[in-house]
């Protein structure tokens, strides 16, 4: 029986309220003992003095590109990137080729992820072929293990289809996840509409494109009593709409990506395509609104929207570059630096956004740091000062705007599925 003894770690669990420095013994993948001064013969002992153990982090929004675009990322490299970033679970989006719109692709992803230290859960498409025209076989997809439904990358724009999707999916305990964008307002855009787009002459994407769709979607969610999750929220308007929906008690949740609280559209002045993503980087006012939304519980989740692209695909003119940046290996550092140290969130609140809440939203079992529970843990060094170097990433891709940025806090390992993965 493999056993691991983590010594002298601060353990923080927002579910149980635990915040103590103690030891933790894992035997055969299960938390066997918690307490001060534990000892166990023939266990691998790791001193974690000054380090922190939290429930395993979960990123409910990643693109692992498999099947179809394995030159950008595949499930194995994506999982390695997740592990390096401190995530024990991810939910991968269905904009693959073929898309995840039938049970066989769901099964394919589970098969590919089998035995990995990171659990990879597929999110299935809302509509067949992600075309936005007719809903996919959701019952079959849910039975096969899909943990949510999204046409991410594209919005469900047809209001009839949106209504049916929200109604039909209300049979499940997992949400419809909307990529909120008005395709008519969006056309050809490549950055946020602001004084910066005006100065740079880049085709703009107005905040209105997100605001209008979120406001509409919330009306539909209320009307059909649906369950709605807003992917990559980025605007003041969307945050206000979600805030109002929550005050009404609707089943509405929202996520924010680290780049939307760590960068503004001023970064686009570089014309560096690694700051091109969708939704685009917004204004400083929006960035502040995202931090407030996280603080106030309007945003439930921090999710990276990890979107790998090969260098040759990104190394082109800004307007022709594909949208998206990778995020798994910078999420903890950005969250600690921008949210924890700046006192927008306490550590338990931060762990809720990175673990408890996303797991609850996509219907995964609750994690607790308690004796008898399966060990699903992330090991953090909240004081580590480091500089982002994309060349050290485990991801196949390098498209991060944070290369060279000094951050505080990083994951130093994960434990899941009986496997300990320590960072380099």
């Amino acid at each position: 029986m493999a056993s691991f003894l983590f010594k002298n770690a601060r353990m923080v669990d927002p579910v149980t309220g635990l915040d103590t420095e103690q030891d933790l013994l894992i035997v055969d993948g299960t938390i066997d003992k918690l307490g001060p001064s534990l000892s166990a013969s023939d266990s691998e002992e790791i001193d974690l003095k000054g380090k922190t153990i939290v429930p395993g982090l979960c990123d409910m929004h990643v693109h692992f590109r498999e099947p179809g675009f394995e030159h950008k990322e595949d499930i194995r490299s994506g999982a390695a990137s997740a592990a390096a970033g401190g995530f024990t679970a991810v939910a991968c989006m269905p904009n693959t080729d073929p898309p995840i719109d039938n049970a066989s692709v769901v099964a394919y992803i589970y098969e590919k992820a089998k035995g990995l230290p990171v659990d990879v859960y597929p999110i299935a498409a809302i509509t067949k072929e992600r075309k936005g025209e007719a809903i996919a076989p959701m019952v079959e997809l849910r039975k096969a293990g899909a943990v949510g439904f999204s046409d991410d990358g594209s919005p469900v724009h047809n209001t009839k289809v949106l209504r049916i999707a929200l109604e039909y999916a209300s049979m499940f305990d997992v949400p419809v996840i909307q990529h909120a964008e008005d395709p008519h307002l969006f056309t050809g855009g490549s950055m946020n509409e602001s004084i910066v787009s005006t100065e740079l002459g880049l085709p703009p994407i107005p905040r209105l494109s997100e605001d209008a769709v979120v406001a509409r979607d919330i009306m539909f969610t209320e009307y059909v009593n649906g369950r709605y999750h807003l992917a990559h929220m980025s605007t003041i308007g969307a945050a206000n709409a979600v805030r109002a929906a929550k005050e009404k008690g609707l089943h509405v949740t929202a996520e924010v990506a680290p780049h939307h609280f760590a960068l503004t559209d001023e970064a686009v002045r570089s014309y560096d395509s690694n700051v091109k993503m969708n939704p685009p980087l917004r204004t400083a006012d929006d960035v502040r609104a995202m931090k407030e939304a996280l603080r106030d519980g309007v945003a439930d989740v921090i999710a990276t929207d990890h979107a790998p692209h090969a260098g040759f695909e990104k190394e082109v003119e800004f307007v022709y570059a594909p949208f998206g940046i990778i995020g798994l290996e910078t999420a903890v550092g950005l969250s600690v630096t921008e949210l924890l140290l700046e006192q927008w969130l306490t550590l338990p609140q931060l762990i809720e956004k990175l673990s408890t809440n996303p797991r609850r939203i996509i219907g995964l079992p609750e994690l607790r740091i308690e004796e008898g529970q399966r060990a699903n843990l992330t090991l953090l060094d909240l004081a580590a000062e480091w500089t982002v170097d994309v060349h050290r990433f485990k991801s196949k891709s390098r498209n991060s705007p944070f290369h060279g940025r000094a951050l505080t806090g990083r994951a130093i390992g994960i434990f899941n599925n009986g496997q300990l993965v320590l960072a380099d």
């Binding site: 509409e193 602001s194 004084i195 787009s197 005006t198 100065e199 740079l200 002459g201 880049l202 085709p203 703009p204 107005p206 570089s270 014309y271 040759f312 190394e315 082109v316 003119e317 800004f318 307007v319 022709y320």
Partner: protein
Amino acid sequence: MASLHIDHLLGLQNVPKEDITLILDSTDTFLEILDRPIKKVPTLQGKTVVNLFFENSTRTRISFELAERRLSADVVNFAAGSSSVKKGETLLDTARNIEAMKVDIVVMRHSAAGAGHFLSKRCTSRFINAGDGAHEHPTQALLDMCTLRQKHGSLDGLNVCIIGDIAHSRVARSNIYGLLTMGADVAVCGPPSMMPYDLEKLGVRIFHNVDEALQFSDAVNVLRIQLERDAGADFPTLREYNQTFGITRDRLDRLGREVTVLHPGPINRGVEIESEVADGPYSVILPQVTNGVAIRMAVLYLIGTKAE
């Protein structure tokens, strides 16, 4: 002789006043050369210039090419239509291949804003932007400023209004940046649907009434209306545009004083400008074209001979 602060001419935003003044002053020298019977000087002898045109252009390309040849540079023309771009080669690969042939100066026109910024960071040649998307067209704005200076003596305190589709205009942006730097009062005029977001933050006045704009102006720069935009894009019809924003003899007569009329060309007669105005006494459209060659000679000379 003074030299430029900038290494490339990618746009006029953030180009210091001394640089713009130096280019405009040097242009006067080259204008004098253009009046000689032999219009050629050996200034760029031994230098190679490639004109990389990824977007159709006749007059800007000819103007650059004339400027290059009159400076005795070796000139290579590259048009996207006849190149490997059609075979799917990336911009970066194209530029690197051309650069590997030892080119000194790249003059580039491209449909993507920032294409020059992108390449200049990855290549060693000097770059001159001949128009990038809706971003900048710096030599056009320089020739406009040169023409205004000839006519009005100084740009300082001059009231200049740019009329047309500001949102999609690189000529407008370069003129706004350059004119503001040189101390002019800048306004724009057109329908609100053709104004880019938060434009007033640049420090320009905005008119939606063309007669009020003319009242303000010592000079107007009338932008070409892209005819292909007519299809329900940002305004209903060319007829309505002409009636509402077109510069007509009648409007100028009612103004009762002289106002200089510029147009970057090619003009759409009867759309943004009436023939009588384009060919009339206040028009400086043809001097603009002449100044264009001299401005490009000045820019090529100053960029091309600047020490590493």
